[in-house]
């Protein structure tokens, strides 16, 4: 019911809201995908990554490069996502050698490595200036469709379609045997190993999936902004999915999505009062960690649906 209403609202948003509302909604969807992938790694597999911006950036730069090469939207977006997945595979082999604290430190360091490459490798990434003039290429599938994406509304529907497909896939995934394996590894690594599950391989799979989602989210960015700059790879960008997930709730599927929406609302409200909005974000993080580790979604479900629902949440 609530889901249907939300879908309806999303479908009709371009008719009601203006350019800015569409722009914001696209940003929220991008962050939702980013955070959803992050939470497959954190909430479901128990690995806290502080370097997801690295893969987000690979997706963004990859998509921009591909679009400059061949202006076809799907080619750029899927290509960027796959490149990020490949980067996650390579760095994942190194990162998943450790878990817990070590893992978090490693992901942060490797994420910043990608940032330093984006900043310093001028010939390929454009350095400080980034890549400019990325076209919002038309959606072309040979022999099937060819849709120009010039208006914001058109692009909004494209992002909406991609987001819905990706969210549905993620939902299938976490409720599949693979998702159960991830949760098993999170809750009891030793027992999973005893039942013959190759724990490390599954961690790597979770890492690559998170990388693919981060890359997909990042790849949706350049056609929107027409440019990519190094800050997309900075660790402060890695903080966004962490904050969104924490805000929404890590043990609920919808947590990261709700959190992405709340984060943008909060940002929007706080910047009206002060330019120092990170300090407020920091205070929110501290309050959440000290007192509300379940996030908003678990607060709401507990209040409205009674505490017995808690156990059912993944």
């Amino acid at each position: 019911m609530a889901l249907g209403l939300l879908l309806l609202a999303l479908l009709f948003l371009p008719l009601v809201g203006g350019q800015y509302a569409q722009y914001l909604a696209i940003q929220v969807m991008i962050l939702s995908l980013f955070a959803l992938g992050f939470n497959i790694l954190f909430g479901y597999t128990g690995l806290l990554s502080f370097g997801q911006a690295g893969f987000y950036a690979v997706g963004a730069y990859g998509c921009a490069k591909l679009l400059l090469l061949k202006p076809s939207l799907l080619f750029g977006v899927l290509g960027g996502s796959l490149l990020a997945g490949a980067a996650a595979l390579v760095l994942g082999i190194l990162c998943i050698r450790h878990t817990r604290i070590y893992f978090s430190m490693l992901t942060l360091a490797f994420g910043m490595m990608i940032y330093s490459i984006a900043l310093k490798w001028r010939d390929f990434t454009g350095g400080d200036d980034g890549l400019v003039g990325v076209p919002r290429a038309p959606l072309e599938i040979p022999g099937l469709v060819s849709l120009p994406m010039t208006t914001m509304g058109r692009y909004y529907y494209f992002v909406l379609a991609i987001t819905l497909i990706a969210v549905a896939l993620a939902y299938r995934l976490v409720h599949s045997p693979l998702g159960l394996t991830f949760r098993g590894i999170r809750d009891s690594e030793g027992r999973m190993a005893f039942t013959g599950v190759p724990v490390r391989t599954y961690r790597l799979i979770a890492f690559v999936i998170a990388g693919l989602y981060a890359g997909l989210a990042g790849a949706l960015l350049p056609p929107l902004e027409n440019t990519v700059t190094p800050p997309v790879a900075h660790w402060t960008t890695s903080a966004d999915p962490v904050l969104a997930t924490l805000l929404g709730g890590i043990h609920a599927f919808a947590g990261p999505i709700v959190g992405a929406f709340l984060l943008f609302m909060l940002k929007d409200i706080i910047v009206r009062f002060t330019e120092y909005w990170l300090i407020w974000l920091g205070i929110i993080v501290v309050v959440l960690v000290m007192g509300f580790r379940g996030g908003v979604v678990s607060l709401v479900t507990r209040k409205w649906l009674g505490p017995h629902r808690e156990g059912e949440q993944p």
Binding site: I101, S104, A109, F110, Y276
Partner: protein, 285 residues
Amino acid sequence: METLAFQGVVGLSLAMYLWLVSAGLTIIFGVLGVINFAHGSLFMVGAYLAFTFYGLLGWNFWLAILLSLVGTAMVGWVMERFFLRYLYGVEEAYQLLLTFGFVLILDDAVKMIWGGVFRIPAIPEFLEGHWPVFGRPFPVYNAFIIAAGILVGIILWLGFEGTWWGRTVRATASDREMANAIGVNVPRVFSGVFMVGAMLAALGGALGIPVRVVSPGLGAAMIIQAFVITVIGGLGSLKGAFVGSLIVGILSAYGTLLFPVFELALIYMVMAVVLLFRPQGLFGR
């Protein structure tokens, strides 16, 4: 050849700032089992405090450093006593997230309080000048930094190995409950260790005041390098932190000279190699 040798000495002084930060990080981890994400931010707070006392108010150099250590220790005390202490029982991911929240708070707080860009205050008179090293002028101040870093290393080593305090802390690190049972006030040890760690970071920040620019992004840059160092050296090992700092400091000095574009990537490559062949770090257990 002489350029290479000289650059090595330059790297050595850079390594000392890194050593002070990663020593604090690794001591806190060794005893409390917590990785303090905000440790780079404490380095930054130390630098800003020293800058205020020494650069803005023009007080005595040593007094400024002392006050900056005390001030940063207080910030560390608040973090440990009123926040971290309530999270020792939950998953460590939340401890990380909490200290991460402090990174955001301290970074912006520094911007709110100090803001703007700074000039670098003059080097105190008695540390001015240059010595000839490998046929080039080497600043006396850099030599002072190297000496200070080594001195701190010796003090830490003697403190941990030789004193009653050191034994108490080591006992707490190896078995919290047992230490508690034989009458060690564990929460107080935790607070104390956290404050000492914070002071080490602050010392690194404060000593850099006459030669390095302070800016709000400093904390993040330091913590990432400190992470790389502890991964290379082994988490929880002081020796590892020292050797790791030397490797990273000297490599980045050579990196800027030989491959300016991939200076940072070089350090990460070393980290990746260590991870592949010795995942627990050079001196990790």
